[in-house]
Amino acid sequence: MQSALVVVIMSFIVFSGVFLVGDPVEILVSDDADQEEREMMIKSMGLDKPFLVQYGIFISKAVRGDLGDSFVFQEPALLLILDRMPATMELAVVALLIAIIFGIPLGVWAGLKPESLASKSIMTGSILGFSLPTFWVGIMMILLFAVLLGWLPSTGRGDVQIILGMPISVFSWDGFSHVLMPAVNLALFKLSMVIRLARAGTREVMHQDYIKFARAKGLKESRIILVHVLKNILIPVVTVLGLEFGGLVAFSVVTETVFAWPGMGKLLIDSIGLLDRPIIVAYLMIIVFLFVFINLVVDICYSILDPRVRLEDIKS
């Protein structure tokens, strides 16, 4: 119910925002078109009507799943975006995995030995991950790994296989080598965040009585860390990462542009350049839906991890 309201409000903000940005006619109509052609063009795109009427038409179509046709491609905007979605999703998932697989162990380690040199290096590195701009790191990575060393391809997406009805490239070597650099680039910020969260969580949990009690039970240190500590720090990590995954998808725009990755972000940037309103609106609407959906998934994950938020009680 709440989510539905969020979607409706967002649709209005997005629609009016895009309406204010600029007039697509100036860009789309060729310079040598005469007044009559202009009028026809405006009429065919429905831009002659007042704002609220345009919005009404948009909403009535949107509830039927039609977010309008692209001005440029003359195809449904929704289909155009969904067509590019798997590439972006793949990039985001790989980036997320990198952030988790490297972030949690590094963070836990830094949390266990906060005074050690390695731990301090990890923390300094994570500050770089936070503060260096993504596009700059991306360009530097291309310079180093693609141009100077020639290990990895600099742009584009590799071979695509259809797996479970989705075009996925990561399972072939060619595809993997293409996705690696943009994914690392995209993951860098999240990786730093996971490291910091895991470290803070570890330091807090290690001082809890239940860790001392676990030691008093004679448990091996490995079990204490892998079960008792890890399960507790996963709660904040999953919450934040879940919410950030939406951001990862939505704002992969920069990385996709730098690495010419054929995803939704690239499409968005191109469409903004051309003031292709339906695509911009459709993109933002999809992102809103994505965020609402991810919130739901995070809540479910949360209840799996933390028994205290589960609603049902044991039957006595």
């Binding site: 001392k212 676990a214 008093a216 091996k220 079990r223 205290r308």
Partner: protein, 333 residues
């Protein structure tokens, strides 16, 4: 020396210091005592007197910046101070177990009770999960938890404080240890539950021959439970002996003060006596006897730390001006 005669645990001149930025805190400063098979030792003192640190020292669980500086902790003749980390891990939970003060904090909130019990068994012996669960269930029943089968599948937050402490006690009992260090295990519980738990623990000790160190500030608990008693003040034991002789006839002014501050039926209508002042900070201990500034009997002699004097029947005392037997109040009745 025959095996049965030797005490389960013997602590000799234990010193555990905390090296903090503000200086060295001598949390435990030359403590000696011993507990025999099936015996209960009461370790009594105010907050900050070093009794909890003494307990953690026995299990080798003193956290940084604390460290055992010197002394011996002999478990069946084996010195635990010099034992390796691995050896200590083997002993913990199997031979020596501990019950913590705050039952709300001792169980991991995100793990089920069965997980936390079974892992304590499997850490020490090769046993199938089903057998371990069976044993966990039996012990839960033993400490008075109804329908243990169902309770095993629950999470800590589904238990009350008293139930959680029972679970913690059950975990301490799982491997039938020789020694249990119980750090104020009933302080956070209401009086009815406290009575039940005391009764059960006492029964278990006499049945299984487990030695028990009961750390508390509650003299009335010790009076009913312990065989021997050590009264700690600012990191040192000021008086020790059998529970009856010490409580009936306290010689140290501090012990006397503690006993007088327990409400009693015999002194109806009389304002409750209290010890003036506060327990000193371990970083700024007074010179000489640390109890001096609060002591009604203080003299010039007390500028020097008193030595331990041996009295009859194994009683020990650390005081220059011990009290006469006659001024002592009675705790019992």
């Amino acid at each position: 020396m025959s095996f049965s005669d030797s005490p389960t645990l013997e602590v000799k001149d234990l010193k555990t210091y905390f090296f903090t930025k503000g200086g060295i805190a001598r949390a435990v400063d030359g403590v000696s005592f011993s507990v025999g098979r099936g015996k209960v030792l009461g370790l009594v003192g105010e907050s900050g007197s070093g009794k909890t640190v003494t307990g953690f020292s026995i299990l080798g669980l003193v956290d940084e910046p604390g460290r055992i500086v010197s002394g011996e902790i002999l478990y069946r003749g084996e010195n635990l101070v010099s034992a390796s980390m691995g050896r200590m891990r083997e002993l913990r939970g199997l031979n020596i177990s501990m019950i913590f003060q705050d039952p709300m904090m001792t169980l991991n909130p995100v793990l089920r009770i069965d997980t936390q019990m079974i892992e304590a068994i499997q850490a020490h012996e090769k046993i199938s999960k089903d057998d371990a669960r069976q044993r966990a269930r039996d012990v839960l029943g033993q400490v008075g938890i109804a329908s243990p089968d169902e309770r095993l599948r629950a999470y800590p937050h589904q238990f009350s404080g008293g139930m959680r402490q029972r679970v913690a006690i059950a975990i301490a009992l799982l491997n039938k240890p020789d020694l249990i260090v119980a750090d104020e295990p009933t302080t956070a519980l209401d009086v009815t539950i406290q009575g039940q738990i005391l009764y059960e623990v006492q029964k278990l000790c006499s049945q299984t021959g487990t030695a028990l160190i009961w750390i508390t500030h509650d003299l009335s608990v010790v009076a009913g439970l312990a065989d021997d008693i050590c009264v700690m003040y600012a990191g040192r034991i000021v008086e020790q002996g059998s529970v009856n002789s010490v409580l009936d006839n306290p010689r140290h002014p501090y012990t006397h003060g503690l006993i007088s501050s327990v409400p009693s039926r015999n002194r109806r209508g009389v304002p409750l006596a209290q010890i003036p002042g506060m327990a000193p900070s371990l970083l700024k201990l007074p010179k000489g006897c640390s109890f001096g500034p609060r002591c009604p009997q203080v003299t010039a002699d007390c500028g020097i730390i008193p030595n331990i004097s041996m009295l009859d029947k194994g009683r020990q005392l650390r005081c220059h001006n011990p009290l006469d037997a006659l001024v002592s109040p009675k705790l019992k009745d």
